[in-house]
Symmetry: C5
Subunit: 255 residues, 5 copies
């Protein structure tokens, strides 16, 4: 998760909290039993749906990296790849040994190439690595989407419970309003958690997965080309197709 996701989350929660606070007190929107039904219930259902380890790794992926924006710009990658291709043409594959990069997947692919494995082996190993990464993202997305499907359901269950209780105790008409307000609160909690937090986060994770896939595919393909000794200029032309128009003109400016 990157910084903007965090800002979005804070903005979304603030918007609703401020809207509530300005037109009535916030305290009438806090109902502890209702919060427990929705939160504990969703947690329990999530435990049925997924493995504990999946849930932990999904939350770690989503929140643990909240302040880093790990997905690198394809432009940076392409410039690095051009450097790699230059080095290989000048010093041979072993020249890559001292090349320093921060992108873990590129580092891994350089190591594999330097170790003298065949291009086929390098490609197969990197493909497996790529699939592993995608699977971790898919798992995180699935966990978040699962929570986003369960929490409104548990909100609805809480509201049904509240309505049945209210309808059984209609002796005092004055209490109907507040009782129904409390019943509606669990639906509010469930929809809020799903639509403002978990479903949007699942969408963002899906997006990040596509970015990673594109970046890793870009590296995977170019490593193969480099090992086969392709011309760096041809490669750059080819790779520039991965860029948005602005980045492409920046790339051309740099050449």
């Amino acid at each position: 998760m990157d910084l903007l996701t965090l800002i979005g989350l804070i903005a979304a929660v603030s918007t609703i909290v401020i809207a509530i606070a300005t037109s009535s007190g916030l305290e009438s929107f806090v109902n502890v039993p209702g919060i427990l039904i929705v939160v504990l219930g969703t947690m329990a259902v999530t435990l049925i749906k997924h493995r504990m380890s999946s849930v932990v790794s999904a939350f770690r992926m989503a929140f643990g990296e909240a302040f880093r924006d790990k997905t690198e710009n394809p432009l940076t990658l392409i410039l690095q790849i051009r450097d790699l291709a230059d080095i290989v043409r000048k010093k041979g594959i072993l020249g890559l040994e001292d090349y320093d990069t921060e992108h873990p997947f590129m580092k891994k692919s350089i190591n594999l190439a330097v170790d003298g494995h065949s291009p086929e082996f390098v490609e197969e190993a990197l493909t497996h690595e790529l699939q592993q990464t995608l699977e971790r993202y898919e798992n995180a997305e699935r966990v978040f989407r699962g929570i986003g499907e369960s929490s409104p359901a548990l909100g609805m269950i809480g509201t049904l419970v509240g309505l049945v209780q209210m309808l059984n105790q209609m002796d005092d008409p004055a209490s109907i309003g507040p009782a129904m307000a409390i019943a509606l609160l669990t639906t509010f909690y469930g929809v809020f958690l799903a639509q403002v937090i978990f479903l949007p986060m699942a969408d963002k994770l899906q997006l990040k997965m596509q970015d990673e896939q594109r970046n890793m595919t870009l590296i995977l393909t170019s490593m193969g080309n480099i090992l086969e000794g392709q011309n760096p200029r041809v490669m750059q032309e080819m790779l520039s197709a991965y860029l948005s128009p602005e980045n492409r003109s920046r790339l051309e400016a740099e050449t």
Copy 2:
């Protein structure tokens, strides 16, 4: 977005505004806090779901080009392609150098051909370009569809907030009606934004993407055929299959 989309947007908004204005005052449909919950909330959620740059480029794509209808008629393209094929047969590929066209993708493919790249290289570069364009459309469609899914959800959250507040203050029966009216307004805003503006725009973007894909595929395929020196007549027969019946007879009339 083309002119008709703009007319449709104006017509749709007017229909509803006029319907409201004729049967009651418009002012009872303006509720600033409700508008803020739906609009700011949806914006914040959109920031969680997408990258800022995606959102900006989606809106630029959708609104920035509102008065131009960029998607060219396949008939125009086919006539141009026939000209290109004629030129290549008469003067060779270099004869294309002076050919002038407004379609950026055709211009790019002519440049690549004139530069003396191999047909395989031209095809691969154009295919990458095609995928880039489709990705930009897909991104814009996804952003708009995402907004169209979030805004009714935030409308519903606003209505739940309003209902809970109303139910907690039912002392004065006379205020129940107006309070509930205000609660319902956020649902109205959310559904209106989604169903009248953002979801239809997402559909139109999907359509435009298909048009672009067809046009670009048409150019891509014929450039390959031209570089291999295929007969212009056979090509025209082939390409005419991309046309609707009316356009096809117009093409035959022109020959």
Copy 3:
């Protein structure tokens, strides 16, 4: 659209009109502003979603051919194909020149064969033609399904508008009932248009598309076989698989 679709449409509309007319007056179900919101609103939204030409061609396809059932029975086609194969074996391909058929796609494929094009060319041209036809059906289906999705949404918007207006004017309790009745009418219009007219029509168009695809594929495949001079008996055996059991025994009876 065939005759039965028209009968179905009339029957569906009558059922509901009669049900209304027998239990109350029809006039209480006619609310001009409500009809305008749903009909004009849906039209405007449809203009945003699709190109004008797509909408026109979708309606022409659906209603213009209302009294003709163009989709031919595969049995008729197979008998014609057997005749064609016989003619080709006896008189050569040029013998087809005088063959008369009403099915436009078969006529086109005969013309192509008689013109002396290579089997590959004939197949490619017919495949393009087939795709064009399918695309026209898909377009019509998409337009109708799009209307069927928008009209209930506009009905709901109309109802929300009506409810807000009613809740703001609850001074006279006697007027609440009729006001809410009017508010509900737009939902009724929207659901009626979608579920009784447009969505079923979209389903029928999808079905017709599959029929056309099967018939055109049948012709396409057999033209190829005929041009390669395959045995008519073997072909008939093969083609009989396209038939339902009843039609198959009828085909065997005719042989």
Copy 4:
């Protein structure tokens, strides 16, 4: 449809009828105009959606065979196939002529083999037959699913009609309850028809289709193997993979 489907249908309908009958009279749940709207309306809409012949054949497939469970156990088929393979190895393909089987698809494949057609021809003819059968099942499933989608929609239309009428005649408060009860009945009819009868039937038809597909594929594959003279033991080992664990041990016991 097999016997258990019929038992399920009877049990489902009885459960609800008994639940109604024990807590109130059944007569308050019979509303002839409501039944007509839902049943006639759904029939009319079904006529728009499908061809008459499709609807007839779907109902014949679903109800006409209600008391027969035609789908044979794969174990029976595998034992028969082993016999066939044995016969072919001992007496040649013509030895199959006297083999008697009840499964129509196996009978057809034996006939084709005995007639001396090439293995390719047999396979192609059987594949077409298989596709035809699957298409008939798909058609029936689609018809039933279509009814299951339309009947709640017509129930909702009926309820909207009833509510509008009720809201227009609210002079007598005592009549509101019964009027609204009648309005709700059409929703009840629609949901009941869809969720208790047509959608579950569509699911069962889908299941049967998969069974038929597996059985027919099993026969198709083994006929090919038999015609190529493969070893019966190897074939049995191969085919046993189609069986559930219990059936597999039974098969091994029989050998």
Copy 5:
């Protein structure tokens, strides 16, 4: 189903039961006719949708193995496979005869290899076995998802029945509340069964299926490699891609 699923189930049910018990008596949430409509109705509908044997095997798969967590860690499997490869390189394939493993699929693949079948045959037999296992999981998932779709529908039917009865007997206003409470209970039962029990279980079964598929594919692929005499080190490198990063470093530590 593993232990955590059971804990999740108990936690989810307890959360809701405790929430009810603390705010009102549990007895007002027990309505025997309502429970019968939802439970018996769903059972009957499930009988229409599926075969009895499928339902039995789905429940046996889900509940019968509740206290065992059968899915093995891929790390354990890879270590075993390395041992197998070592043995084969030292003693030949027959050396596997004494190898003992608990994983039934690995045992089966060893047996097939030791029996002297060709690598192709082993692979084909194991592939069939793999498909059978996946089909059993798919069946169980489909049964549970089917129940999760039917139970809310039957809850809604029960609520409609209750509402119609209540609306017909509105003479005593004091009884409206409790009557409506009872009507709502069936919706509560249906949603509870679907969202807290059956749909989450279906999700877990889907997950288990993917785990089994990965493990069985891992065994299947490596058995092929072993039979072809591939280098154990190369295989381990290859297989390590199936592991999460932590497991991978553990694997490297063990080497």
